[in-house]
């Protein structure tokens, strides 16, 4: 399974649905969510589909959970063994430092052995990845219409959204290290950007009157 490819396509509305199904949203949010289920049939089907998926996963994990849990036990045991070996090699040194040294050594080894063959431009940014999707604000949430995740290299990118509130919107494009590479402002609900981005993974933020309201990502694959 190509986990990385799949990760690019994960959508944040799933997170909101999971929070609703887990019962971890506020009563006010829950009311709005239920209202949407009653008014938007496509959305309701999506929620139902997600619940079915959760049931299937629950059933499968229940069936093979002991095997998976066993893997965790054995990996914990391996970690314990390694811990003892490191302790004996470096007496008196705190195990945290030993782990840190080991991690640095392994990382260096990975950089030497793996980096020439890997494509760093597609590595995800963990913090931005967690922020994907609309942010929960007091105002009505923004609904982004465009762009999709995968962009053709020669395309013009159309950023488009629906939002009730008025004001200035700002689209900020970031590379996968989180560095700002382009900032565009508009008072409308869309903005076009002629692509001049290299092959790789990018994130974009939508700000309204300087409030960060949405995070998306763009994948430009020139292969």
């Amino acid at each position: 399974m190509c986990i990385r490819k799949i990760i690019y396509r994960c959508s944040s509305p799933d997170r909101q649905i999971d929070r609703f199904l887990d019962g971890t949203i506020s009563e006010e949010e829950r009311g709005l969510f239920e209202k949407r289920c009653l008014e938007d049939h496509a959305f309701f089907l999506k929620v139902q589909e997600r619940e079915l998926l959760r049931e299937k996963v629950a059933q499968t994990v229940s069936a093979i959970g002991s095997e998976l849990a066993g893997n965790h036990v054995s990996s914990s045991a391996q970690r314990g063994g390694l811990e003892r070996r490191v302790k004996s090699l470096i007496p008196g040194m705190r195990i945290g430092w030993a782990y840190a040294l080991l991690a640095v050594a392994l990382l260096s080894l990975c950089i030497i052995l793996v980096l020439p063959n890997s494509d760093e431009t597609f590595a995800i940014h963990p913090d931005l990845e967690q922020e994907l999707g609309a942010r929960v604000l007091r105002s009505a949430p923004v609904q982004v219409l465009s762009p999709g995740v995968e962009i053709k290299p020669d395309d013009e990118i159309l950023f488009a959204w629906e939002a009730d509130a008025q004001g200035t919107f700002q689209v900020v494009i970031l590379d996968n290290q989180g560095n700002e590479i382009k900032s565009l402002r508009t008072t409308g609900r869309s903005i076009r950007y002629q692509i001049d981005l290299a092959h790789g993974l990018y994130y974009w933020k939508l700000l309204q009157n300087d409030d960060w309201i949405f995070t998306g990502k763009i994948l430009i694959d020139k292969k």
């Binding site: 209202k35 049939h41 309701f44 929620v47 849990a69």
Partner: protein, 194 residues
């Protein structure tokens, strides 16, 4: 259901149109069942009765002219009816007695597969989920095992892994999305093989 259609049906119900009542019921039936089920627990034996009560009350309110389109959409009207009926139910002595006898709410939360006899997983799907579960990177796999197999709550998992609850919740969602892609692939493969 489409808001405009629902408004038209409400007007027709007020005029005593039985066909409109039937269409209104069919239009919201699945949504109401689903939302009530989530509120009271899927294994709760009162589910069918409560859904029926919601619709009886809904039609009673519509016929009494309680729906005011200037105050909200029909969806909001249905949602508020569900909410208040469930609150009444949760406060009822019947619910308290039943809860003491069966503890279905906790059980259904702890065993999400309970009451899901209708759920049939195709062999290809099952294999796809198993394969995807084994291939899941850390900490996604650990979180799913702790949640579904050890039946820990998000808060407990967060404590065990030393992570914020929000992060655990996000990772769990992420893991499920990864698995859903694999199921979709298996479904496509099954259709193609037919």
């Amino acid at each position: 259901m489409d808001t405009e259609r629902a408004k038209t049906l409400i007007t027709a119900i007020l005029q005593g149109n039985a066909t409109a009542e039937k269409e209104f019921f069919e239009g919201y039936q699945h949504e109401v069942e689903f939302l009530v089920k989530l509120r009271i627990g899927r294994a709760n034996p009162d589910l069918p009765d409560l859904c029926q009560t919601v619709f009886i009350d809904l039609f009673k309110r519509i016929r009494a002219g309680e729906y005011d389109s200037s105050k909200g959409s029909p969806g909001a009207f249905v949602q508020s009816t569900i909410k208040f009926k469930i609150l009444d139910y949760l406060k009822s002595r019947h619910y308290q007695e039943r809860k003491n006898q069966t503890e279905f709410n906790e059980r259904s939360a702890a065993h999400p597969d309970e009451g899901a006899d209708h759920l049939m997983i195709h062999e290809e799907e099952k294999k796809a989920i198993e394969k995807a579960l084994h291939a899941l990177p850390e900490p996604y796999q650990t979180i799913l095992v702790l949640y579904y197999y050890h039946q820990l709550k998000i808060k407990e998992i967060a404590g065990r892994l030393g992570m914020p609850e929000q992060k655990v919740s996000n990772y769990k969602s992420y893991a499920l999305t990864l698995l859903s892609r694999e199921i979709q692939k298996a479904q496509v493969a099954r259709k193609q093989s037919r």
